[in-house]
């Protein structure tokens, strides 16, 4: 796919990294030549230096035959104008823009084809905030992702001795929770995938991915490990865009403390946040953390722009007694290094935000794509089209579908129903299937499965 990315900031370069790896033709446009040079050195892509919203620059970037434009500059207005131009002058089929200001996003008609022509609005900060929020709502989880507009969820978590199901076979779940359906989609044991079957025994330390209707999530989680006490106190280090959004989304339900170093921004934060206690100071300062009772915190989130600061402050908070620490880390090497050690969750912003873009890059009709396990695995919500003749899926039972190795169908969303997949579930046209793909290499095979044969048209 030929893709143009406008803006080589954090979001832009993270996207570029992902998309290049997936084998796309990439052109990155930015005003900052230094950033571009750096990108070009690391990845196989083309760079153009110039104002992203100028037609000449877009033409130079190859807008005439591009398949997709992703506008992720820091400036909402530039992004919107670029999308408009891409539609009017170059007829680029898919235009994605990052819009941060709520003032724009709450007027959805602005993005219609006849106005700014933005096909998809992404708000990375908001997505990371939602991601974090779910981790705080389900403190035992490593990752929680939504399907079908939140009707079904996939949860990743570590099984711990003490959970009723640990040490038992998977099929016992039915006995433990009668009348409640859930499906374990994958188990990772010491970083190797195990294809879950009814007789698989769950062990302490297994990383389990399961799918269930949203209201059943908590009950299933309780099976895997003894429920921790629920979260009441949250401390956030870093009052940037993400820290502020998270605090304002949490403050109604939790006791939130927010630490920022900059006096100017704490003043601003204190005036925009209603209930959060805003503190001026350094989150790596032991005195400050102790004074604010870090040992009583249920969750500590390090969300500054600085990876090292985040790592140090979350290590410190953990050492001082915070129950669970989450750290935002941009560099993917650090993430691999730290995840699962002292730091409970090392979150890479790129991971959390790449999903919506992948939705548009995948072939076949994908409603939702989530990147899991730091990009190694993927969960898809794919739409089934066609009829029995043209489709490889319609009218077949799940056991009849030839799935690539390890890929499993977790659930079927039919209308407003959430049907947990069993071997005899019959797939119908227009169903949304939730698939777990343990390894990215299998993605093309999965895509093929969902493409409708020519006979249908």
């Amino acid at each position: 796919m030929k893709i143009i990315i406008l803006g080589a900031g954090q979001v832009g370069s993270n996207l570029a990294e992902h998309l290049v790896r997936e084998g796309n033709d990439l052109t990155v446009v930015d005003l900052d030549a230094e950033k571009l040079a750096n990108l070009q050195e690391r990845f196989d892509l083309r760079t153009i230096c110039g104002q992203a919203s100028h037609p000449s620059v877009l033409r130079q970037a190859g807008a005439d035959d591009a398949d997709m434009l992703v506008a992720v500059t820091l400036n909402d207005e530039t992004n919107m104008v670029a999308c408009k131009l891409a539609g009017t002058l170059f007829n680029i089929p898919t235009k994605i823009a990052r819009i941060r200001a709520l003032d724009y996003t709450k007027h959805a008609q602005l993005f219609d084809a006849e106005h700014f022509g933005v096909d998809h609005v992404i708000a990375p900060e908001q997505e990371i905030t939602d991601y974090l929020r779910k981790l705080i709502d389900y403190p035992e989880a490593l990752q929680v992702v939504d399907f079908g507009g939140g009707r079904a969820r996939l949860v990743a978590m570590k099984a711990r001795a003490g959970g009723p199901l640990v040490g038992h076979e998977l099929r016992d779940l039915q006995k433990h929770l009668p009348g409640l359906d859930a499906r374990v989609a994958a188990i990772f044991r010491r970083d190797r995938t195990i294809v879950p079957e009814g007789r698989t025994v769950i062990q302490d330390g297994d990383e389990i991915f399961f799918i269930a209707a949203t209201e059943n999530i908590r009950a299933v989680m309780k099976e895997m490990r003894r429920g921790d006490k629920s979260v009441r106190r949250v401390m956030i280090a870093g009052g940037g865009n993400i820290g502020q959004r998270l605090a304002s989304s949490l403050e109604a339900d939790y006791e939130v403390k927010l630490i920022d170093r900059n006096k100017k921004s704490t003043e601003r934060l204190a005036s925009s946040l209603k209930k959060t206690l805003v503190l001026t100071g350094d989150a790596t300062d032991e005195e400050l953390l102790l004074q604010e009772n870090v040992e009583d915190m249920d969750v500590f989130c390090a969300l500054t722009n600085d990876d090292e600061d985040n790592i140090m402050s979350s290590l410190l908070a953990k050492r001082l007694g915070a129950r669970k620490v989450i750290s935002l880390i941009n560099r993917s090497t650090y993430v691999d290094l730290l995840q699962g050690g002292e730091i409970d969750i090392a979150l890479s912003p790129a991971q959390a935000t790449i999903g919506p873009l992948l939705t548009h890059i995948r072939r076949g009709d994908m409603a939702v794509v989530h990147s899991l396990r730091r990009g190694a695995a993927e969960a898809l919500e794919a739409v089934v089209h066609g009829d029995e003749k043209a489709s490889k899926l319609v009218g077949r039972r799940i056991e009849q579908v030839e799935m690539p190795e390890g890929v499993s169908i977790g659930a079927v969303l039919r209308g407003s129903q959430v049907i947990i997949a069993h071997h005899d579930t019959v797939i119908e046209a227009d169903d949304h299937l939730i698939l777990f793909v343990p390894n990215k290499r299998m993605i093309p095979k999965v895509e093929k499965l969902f493409q409708v044969g020519f006979g249908f048209f």
Binding site: T266, E267, A270, S271, L277, V278, L279, T280, Q291, E292
Partner: protein, 486 residues
């Protein structure tokens, strides 16, 4: 010096002129009804209008835009000079009235205080009673606001003047982009409410004249009545209820009324952070006092206790100052508590007096913030008033304001008791005057008048009223040497 004053005198002349023209209302009434005060008004109006005209012409050559200092000076001048002119009809009609008493009466009228030195009000000519109430009405919302609404002459310095007169700590709250529009808007609200009040009182059985006089008095939160027995004269629950409700309405920020009227929505009342506290304090206090009076057997029936306690509490707390009974005879706590309420209950931007509920809220929140700071030394805690964040400089200004307010009450009380007045009377007189309430306790209680005061004590009380109406700073700054230095 004179060169500097002349441009101010020019505007001052204009203000006096407008004020003189407002004497036409009682003058006409006197001429038509031939109530005996015609000559007093002829003379007073003539003097006022000609002095105004003279000053205006005198300064005409030197007119220029006013500076901040000029604005403050002009406001202080206006508020101290106008009562002198307002006193003229009283002096001309009652030659044996002392100058101090006449000035006091006029000042009490214009600052919407309602403390009176006159008795035998029922026998006074209607035009005199109208004039007294009219002073309340004009002074209630503010003379400068009136002038700004009528004449576009105030120019750039005008906003400063409006700010100097405005009874609120948050002076930069602009309702409309242009000052004259703001002033007009406020007057429209004021006039509409007054008309409504007149209509209601008239419908409830007052004579039309009494309805007008009392409506003027209520909306300005003054307290002059045309009867010695104040509102007790009517002895009607319905009238008391209506007066209480309109007093509460006048105790709410007029900017809120304005926003409600302009947007045709009641939402602005919900967003006004002061209203809840104002109504809560006043009404709960009324009920608690009713219980107290009932329990102490001042009233044998609870409904009766509730009627008197609620009305008098609302009346004093809103700084209106009507009374339906001599609450000086109630348990000591009741009177003292009512005096306490009147010092802070009304909203900023209302026609009431005192330090205003907004300042009280800010003080409370500042104390709470200090306490919180002890627990979390590094916390950034903004001071929030409703949705709005209050800048620290306003909090400091409020703290200074409270200090001066308390200091003024203490020192003026000392001055009065130095002249031989008993402590309760002197303290309550100062509190009642500086809060522009009217009746105090002891010898100046609701059943008596300020006529018992000596001339000197009367002047002190006049000063206290002015101090309170101009919210201390505006008046005090003119008294500092720094103000006069170039």
């Amino acid at each position: 010096m004179l060169r500097r004053l002349l441009p101010i005198l020019h505007v001052q002349g204009m203000i006096i002129l407008v004020f003189g023209l407002s004497m036409l209302a009682p003058l006409l009434l006197a001429e038509i009804t031939k109530d005996g005060a015609e000559r007093a008004y002829d003379l007073a109006a003539l003097v006022t209008v000609s002095v105004g005209l003279l000053l205006w012409l005198l300064g005409h050559h030197w007119r220029r835009d006013l500076k901040t200092r000029d604005g403050i000076l002009l406001v202080v001048l206006t508020w101290s000079v106008l009562p002198a002119f307002a006193a003229l009809p009283l002096l001309f009609y009652m030659p044996d009235l002392s100058v101090a008493d006449a000035y006091f009466e006029a000042m009490s009228g214009l600052t919407a205080t309602g403390a009176t030195v006159l008795s035998g009000l029922d026998q006074l000519p209607n035009s005199i009673n109208l004039w007294r109430a009219q002073l309340h009405w004009i002074g209630g919302l503010g003379v400068i606001v009136l002038v700004a609404a009528v004449l576009p002459l105030l120019g750039v310095g005008g906003r400063q003047m409006l700010k100097a007169e405005m009874p609120t700590p948050m002076k930069d709250n602009k309702l409309t982009p242009r000052m004259a529009e703001t002033a007009k808007g406020l007057w429209v609200v004021y006039i509409l409410l007054t008309l409504a009040c007149i209509g209601v009182l008239w419908a409830l059985g007052m004579s039309f004249f009494d309805a007008v006089v009392h409506a003027f008095s209520i909306l300005g939160l003054g307290g002059f009545s045309s009867h010695d027995a104040s509102l007790g004269y009517f002895d009607s629950v319905a009238i008391e209820a209506a007066v209480g409700i309109f007093a509460l309405i006048a105790g709410i920020n007029f900017a809120t009324h304005f926003a409600a009227l302009r947007g045709r929505t009641l939402l602005s009342y919900r967003h006004d952070p002061e209203i809840r506290w104002f109504l809560g304090f006043v009404l709960i206090s009324g009920v608690v006092l009713a219980l107290l009076l009932w329990q102490r057997d001042v009233f044998l029936e609870f409904p009766e206790a509730l009627r008197y306690a609620l009305f008098n509490t609302v009346s004093v707390a809103t700084t209106l100052g009507f009374s339906t009974t001599d609450y000086g005879q109630w348990p000591f706590f009741a009177g003292l508590w009512m005096m306490f309420l009147c010092s802070f209950s009304t909203s900023a931007g209302s026609t009431g007096g005192g330090i205003k509920m907004m300042r009280a809220m800010l003080l409370y929140k500042q104390v709470y913030r200090e306490l919180k700071k002890l627990i979390h030394p590094d916390a950034q805690i903004p001071l929030r008033l409703g949705e709005q964040i209050v800048p620290n400089k306003i909090v400091y200004a409020v703290l200074a304001f409270l200090f001066i307010y308390v200091a003024s009450i203490v020192s003026l009380s000392f001055v009065l008791s130095f002249t031989g007045m008993d402590v309760l009377t002197s303290f309550s007189a100062v509190v009642a005057c500086i809060n522009n309430t009217g009746p105090g306790l002891g010898n100046v209680g609701p059943a008596s008048t300020y006529a018992v005061l000596s001339d000197f004590q009367t002047w002190v009380c006049s000063f206290a009223m002015l101090l309170g109406r101009l919210e201390l700073f505006t008046l005090l700054v003119v008294l500092t040497p720094a103000f006069w230095r170039r």
